[in-house]
Every structure is written in structure tokens, then in C-alpha cells.
């Protein structure tokens, strides 16, 4: 079904350069990748004109791949007789100033999902009615889900990431070396724990 859909998108919108990514060895979910500039017209086509009528946008998931961002739109139609779902992917290659067209007027669900994507990854959605941070405070610096994000030590003059509470070595889940494990045990015994 996705082969057919991908061909259709390619025919209707040659600029979209739709590519179908089938998961290797059938492990995982298939996806269709399109160019960012034709996102809106493809989205409108998928919602209204294509025969599957993807009326539901479930979630927008942004992933940071260091060289580029990838924004995944999980689309579905809640049709009882024949339900389909797939992932529509868009690459945003500009890391410094990432901009993407908003689809908030096509699927109202995108309103909050795009806000979260903006909050976490800093992707600006052009044409969004109310692009504000949603989970972090409005004056938060940086975008937490970027891979190069360093947790701030201070927020509004308050220490939020104190070193003595963040001894990651002691808290690491897998302690590889045995001598280190014994050392830690000794330490905790000495503390009377």
C-alpha cells in the first residue's frame, strides 16, 4: 500500500521527491520521506484527496541526527473497515536556523505537537498561530532534546544541577569493573549505609 502511495505522491508532486524507506529485514515501521518545501501540499493531499484519507495526525516526533533534524508525522486514518498508518518524514538540514512550514491549520492536532517540537528541538514552524514553549518555562535557554545540549547549571540565579547531587558514576546502572564495584561497596559501608 505504501509503494502505491509513494508513487502517487511522486506523480502529483514531482518536487516532493518522495522516497519510501522500508525497514531493514522488516524490523520497524516503514516511512515516506519528502522534501520540506512541499510538505504543506502533500499534507493537504494526504488528508483530503488521496484514497486513504489520513484524517488523524497522531504525533509529531522530532529527531536530532547532528547533521540534520528529522521531523516525523505519524499519520493514520481511524477507518474501521480499512485502517492505515504510516510515518511521513521531513528533513530539516539547517541546524542553525531550522524552519519548517506549519501544518496546524491542516491538522489542528499539530498545534501543540509543533509547540513541543519547537520547545524541545528549536525547530521554528512558519505560520504557526501560537508558537511558544510548552513544557519548559518561557525563559528557558537552549533546546533540551538536541544532542549537543548541555544542561544549564543555573536558571534565574538558582542552582538547578548541583554537582554533589549528580554524581553519575555512583548512579550508573551497569558497573563494569569488579574492583570498582567493591570500592563502591566499601565506600557505602564506611558511610554506614
Amino acid at each position: 500500500m505504501l509503494d502505491e502511495l509513494c508513487q502517487e505522491i511522486k506523480l502529483k508532486f514531482p518536487a516532493s521527491q518522495a522516497v519510501l524507506h522500508n525497514p531493514p529485514e522488516n524490523v520497524g515501521s516503514p516511512s515516506i520521506e519528502i522534501e520540506a518545501k512541499s510538505l504543506r501540499e502533500v499534507a493537504l493531499y494526504l488528508r483530503d484527496d488521496c484514497k486513504y484519507k489520513f484524517s488523524v495526525l497522531q504525533v509529531i516526533s522530532g529527531v536530532d541526527y547532528l547533521e540534520y533534524f528529522e521531523v516525523c508525522y505519524m499519520l493514520a486514518n481511524f477507518d474501521l473497515a480499512r485502517s492505515y498508518e504510516f510515518i511521513l518524514k521531513v528533513k530539516v538540514s539547517d541546524r542553525v536556523n531550522p524552519v519548517l512550514d506549519s501544518v496546524a491549520d491542516i491538522w489542528p492536532a499539530a498545534n501543540w505537537q509543533e509547540r513541543e517540537c519547537f520547545d524541545m528541538l528549536g525547530i521554528e514552524f512558519k505560520g504557526h498561530p501560537d508558537l511558544r514553549r510548552i513544557l519548559c518555562p518561557e525563559d528557558w535557554q537552549g533546546f533540551p532534546l538536541r544532542k549537543d545540549y548541555v544542561a544549564a547549571k543555573y536558571y534565574n540565579g538558582m542552582q538547578v544541577y548541583p554537582d554533589h547531587k549528580m554524581n553519575l558514576e555512583e548512579r550508573s546502572f551497569i558497573i563494569n569493573s569488579k574492583s570498582k564495584q567493591e570500592e563502591l561497596q566499601k565506600q557505602s559501608l564506611a558511610k554506614g549505609l
Binding site: V27, S61, D64, P108, A109, L135
Partner: protein
């Protein structure tokens, strides 16, 4: 004494006025400076901004809704979330796949078992692990029990929102029994870490299953009592019927799922549409709003959403009964390597939780830690509908609307 003094003063004033009776009208005009040609349109009026939350019993957690009210009518509702944001998605990037399960628990803390099952199934699907039949049965059993427990909280707190205190106690009394069963099998009452990748952590004994059989018998009668106590109560019906209608179109546009979507009359349940676990072997109905004309109200209103939940509890009981009839024996853990490494790629999978569809988008680069996990939370979607539902409702009805959507902020903020 003060009273006397006041009265004395008043009398004195009165005398004064009597003396200068001729000037009385002039004085009033001077003091109040009231425009003589004042009409209703020229008077200055503005909307009253009201903060509902972040600490408010009707918001079911730390949710703040900024309401603009025109007298008693809500004209704008703006939810602010993030008070419970614990950076779960960021944390998962530095944890191994097993270590994530306790974090997943804390998403929807009222339905932790469903969260675990959803996560474990997603990872297993990627790994290609085969889960033993007994483990699958136990998973279905705990998911359905958790669904009942979660709906009981929804039922109890909803009645509490609308001013009835007793149903809350009834609901928690029954929920306690389910929590006791969970405590027996997992050691914890709220956040279990019970469903592991490959199976479940601990086996269920026959005595524990017998305890469940007793519980089911009791609970069926108890459910009837809830309907007598609450559903047929005329005050409750007046407060919920035809209030805060979310129609099917809005539901689909905003991606609502679960009882909200089913309350709007769409028979969409992932357990039926895309069966996972062993739901395809089990017989149960999917209750939707409007399929029982005796309920009354309008399709998609608060009453129908509430009633869908109440009927889902009965369906869950039906499922548990069938499970208990043919509980298979055997191992409870499948073969999983000591260090779990997902193959390179990504997956998006969703399961039906008490509040709607929970989806996990896991991106793996082949390492022992995920590259990215994105959680599709049903409540996040449902809170985003509030600005559409709110306008036009009375403030008290808005409380009823928020309660009928049944949100858990742990899952909204993640």
C-alpha cells in the same frame, strides 16, 4: 458595641439629611460624578481572568488553565502545562532498554501496567522476541485490572468534581483490592516495574488468582450499585448530560483517542482493530456513546464519556473471566540477551491504555541505549482540545468537562 456606634452614626446622618433635605439630590450628583446619559453600551466592561490551578482539585494534578470569564460563562480557556515535566524523553537517551521501564511507569502513574506493557511490546517487536503464553496472559490480565483501577479513579474523582463524595470512597475501596493483588505479584502498589522485556518479572500463584475470582464476583454487584448511586442520580445527569459536547469531527482533527473518541460514537479500539497481546482470542464489546438510548444525553457529551468508562469496566471483567478460565502454565520469561541492543532502525507502535492510545516512537542506532524515544501521550492530545471545548460553558460545567476527559498530568508533561 460597634453595631450600636454604627447605628448611632447612621441615625445622625439621617438627621442631617432630614435637615438639608433640599440639597439632598445635588450632593449625590456631585459625589458620584455619574454620567447622566450612561447607557449599557458606553459602560466599561472587561472579561475576568481566572486561574484554575496549578493547585486545584478539579484539574487532577498540576495543570493551570487560564480562563477568561464573562460573568459565569467561560469565553476563553488556555491550558498551561509543564509543571510536572521530568525530562523523561531526555533521560531515556542515557539509559539502557531495561532501565527505562521504571521511567515509563511514571508516565501515567494511575495506569503504570499499561505503560509498561506498551513499552515492552514495542521493544519486543523490534527485537523479535517471542513471549511465552503464560506471560502474555499475565500481561493481558494486569492490563485489564489496571484499566479497571484507572477507571475507578476516574469515576470516583469525577463524582467528587461534581460534588458527590461517597462514590469516591466506594471506588477506592474496590481499587484497593486490585492494588493489593498488584502488590502481591510485584511488590509495589503504584509503580510496579513488573512487565519486563521478554515477559514478566514474577509469576502469579493460584491463590492469587482465586483472590481475583472473589474480587470479580464482588465487583459485578458493586458496579450495579455505582449505576444506582451515580449514573441514575438526577443531579449527576443534569450536570453531565448535553454538557461539553466533543463531536467526532473535533475528535479526529485533534487526534483524540480512548473513551473521548468512543464517547463521540466511533467504535475505535486498538484491542479490536489491531489486536496485540492475546486480545484476538477474547470476546468483548467496545462500548461507544449513543449505542444505548437509555443513557440519554447527546453523543459526545460528558455523560456519554463517563458511561463509556463505566461499561468498559464491565467489559474488562468479561475479559478477565475468560483469561482465568484457561490460564496456561509454563515459563514467564522469553529468551532475551543480557545486554539488549535493538537493531538499527525505528518503530512506532501504540497500545490501548485506559485514557487512550499510547504510542512509542523508538529510534535506535544499534547501541544499547535508544537514540530517541518519543511518547505519544493520549492526555496531551486531550488537554489540547480544552480551548475548543471551553468557550460557552459555565465555569462549573468546565470543571465537569475537564473531569470527563480524565487527564493524568504525569503523562501530559512526561
Amino acid at each position: 458595641m460597634t453595631h450600636d456606634k454604627h447605628e448611632g452614626k447612621h441615625d445622625h446622618d439621617h438627621d442631617d439629611h432630614d435637615k438639608h433635605d433640599d440639597h439632598h439630590h445635588e450632593e449625590v450628583a456631585e459625589v458620584e460624578d455619574y454620567p447622566k446619559d450612561a447607557k449599557e453600551e458606553s459602560l466599561k466592561s472587561e472579561l475576568l481572568t481566572l486561574n484554575m490551578g496549578p493547585q486545584h482539585p478539579a484539574t487532577h494534578g498540576v495543570l493551570r488553565i487560564e480562563i477568561k470569564t464573562d460573568s459565569e460563562i467561560v469565553s476563553e480557556a488556555k491550558p498551561y502545562i509543564g509543571y510536572l515535566h521530568r525530562c523523561m524523553e531526555k533521560h531515556t537517551e542515557s539509559l539502557d532498554y531495561r532501565g527505562i521501564i521504571p521511567f515509563v511507569d511514571r508516565l501515567d502513574y494511575l495506569a503504570a501496567m499499561n505503560m509498561e506493557v506498551g513499552y515492552a511490546l514495542t521493544v519486543e517487536k523490534m527485537l523479535g522476541t517471542e513471549v511465552p503464553a503464560r506471560a502474555t496472559y499475565i500481561r493481558t490480565l494486569v492490563s485489564e485490572l489496571q484499566r479497571i483501577a484507572s477507571h475507578l479513579v476516574a469515576f470516583g474523582t469525577y463524582a467528587l468534581d461534581l460534588g458527590a463524595f461517597t462514590p469516591f470512597l466506594y471506588a477506592f475501596d474496590q481499587r484497593e483490592k486490585i492494588l493489593r493483588f498488584f502488590e502481591e505479584i510485584s511488590g509495589a502498589r503504584l509503580l510496579y516495574n513488573y512487565v519486563w522485556i521478554g515477559g514478566v518479572w514474577n509469576d502469579v500463584t493460584d491463590t492469587q488468582l482465586d483472590f481475583l475470582r472473589d474480587f470479580i464476583e464482588d465487583f459485578e454487584k458493586e458496579l450495579d450499585e455505582y449505576h444506582t448511586l451515580v449514573t441514575s442520580n438526577s443531579i449527576f445527569r443534569d450536570r453531565t448530560a448535553n454538557v461539553a459536547v466533543i463531536d467526532l469531527k473535533t475528535c479526529l482533527a485533534y487526534g483524540a483517542t480512548g473513551p473521548v473518541l468512543r464517547g463521540a460514537g466511533h467504535r475505535w479500539d486498538l484491542r479490536k482493530v489491531q489486536p496485540y497481546l492475546n486480545y484476538n482470542e477474547l470476546e468483548f464489546d467496545v462500548p461507544v456513546g449513543g449505542d444505548n438510548p437509555e443513557v440519554g444525553g447527546m453523543v459526545g457529551d460528558c455523560l456519554n464519556r463517563y458511561y463509556v468508562r463505566m461499561r468498559e469496566m464491565r467489559e474488562s471483567l468479561k475479559i478477565i473471566k475468560q483469561l482465568l478460565l484457561k490460564f496456561p502454565s509454563g515459563p514467564i520469561m522469553g529468551k532475551v540477551s543480557k545486554i539488549i541492543k535493538l537493531p538499527k532502525g525505528e518503530i512506532y507502535m501504540r497500545t490501548e491504555c485506559p485514557r487512550g492510545e499510547l504510542g512509542f516512537h523508538i529510534v535506535s542506532q544499534g547501541g544499547k541505549e535508544p537514540y530517541r524515544i518519543k511518547v505519544k501521550s493520549p492526555c496531551f492530545t486531550h488537554v489540547s482540545i480544552l480551548p475548543v471545548v471551553g468557550p460557552g460553558l459555565m465555569i462549573a460545567d468546565f470543571v465537569a468537562a475537564v473531569g470527563s476527559i480524565d487527564i493524568v498530568l504525569g503523562e501530559v508533561d512526561r
